[in-house]
């Protein structure tokens, strides 16, 4: 095996195997920061529909009208 063959094998091995620095223990995380992508995805959520606001308002009115029900709701949450 001459020097040219060694160089060729080295080149083929480097092309076939992943970079070693990403496979070491403690350094196996993603190559880029994923948190901005998560924040972007969360921001894409549409605003709550009107009936959810109506349900929340109705629930608040019910709790105000019957305050004795609040301990019962807290018991179940």
């Amino acid at each position: 095996m001459n020097t040219h063959d060694e160089e060729r094998i080295r080149h083929l091995l480097k092309a076939a195997l992943p970079p070693i620095e990403n496979t070491e223990p403690g350094n196996s995380g993603p190559a880029r920061d994923l948190w901005p992508a998560i924040l972007r995805r969360l921001d894409e959520r549409p605003a709550p529909p009107w009936f959810d606001w109506a349900l929340a308002g109705g629930l608040a009115l019910f709790a105000v009208a019957f305050p004795a029900t609040i301990p019962v709701f807290l018991y179940y949450l």
Partner: protein, 148 residues
């Protein structure tokens, strides 16, 4: 993040009751120990403290495992939980002596009387509360943890 999805689902589901529990404990300490209100609230603490967070976590695990088949929105799935939780909680409350069932209605914590006509609105209110909590809080945590 593809590891331990059921553990993440459990933690996401248990998040809302764990968030509310310190508030409940604060209210309990203020009313029972500081103001000396003669209502046996401490007997009722067992259910929300010991069982509800675990049931929320298990219910979210059930949603995660069944979502591919049922395609049920998480809000509606959460709104079904009171159907399991309320009879179980009422049974436990009866055994602990904080719920008395009478001829005209029920008495909670030996202080709050509810006629039977008010039971259905309370149950509907619980469904609404659970729907909103699951849709907006558990759904949010599920998305952050990469479950939904």
């Amino acid at each position: 993040m593809n590891t331990h999805p059921y553990l993440r689902a459990f933690l996401a589901g248990a998040f809302p009751p764990i968030l509310v529990l310190p508030l409940v404990l604060t209210v309990f300490i203020v009313f029972r120990l500081v103001l000396q209100v003669p209502v046996p609230i401490e007997r009722g603490i067992i259910f929300p403290m010991a069982l509800v967070p675990s049931l929320f976590g298990l219910w979210n695990m059930l949603w995660m495992s069944s979502h591919a088949r049922t395609h049920l929105p998480i809000g509606l799935h959460g709104a079904l939980l009171p159907l399991v939780l309320m009879p179980f909680g009422a049974l436990l409350a009866t055994c602990l002596g904080i719920l008395a069932i009478g001829a005209q209605g029920v008495v909670w914590f030996q202080a709050f009387h509810f006629p039977y006509t008010l039971i259905a609105p309370i149950f509907f209110g619980a469904l609404v509360a659970y729907y909103l909590v699951w849709k907006y809080i558990v759904g949010f945590v599920n998305r952050v943890l990469g479950i939904a």
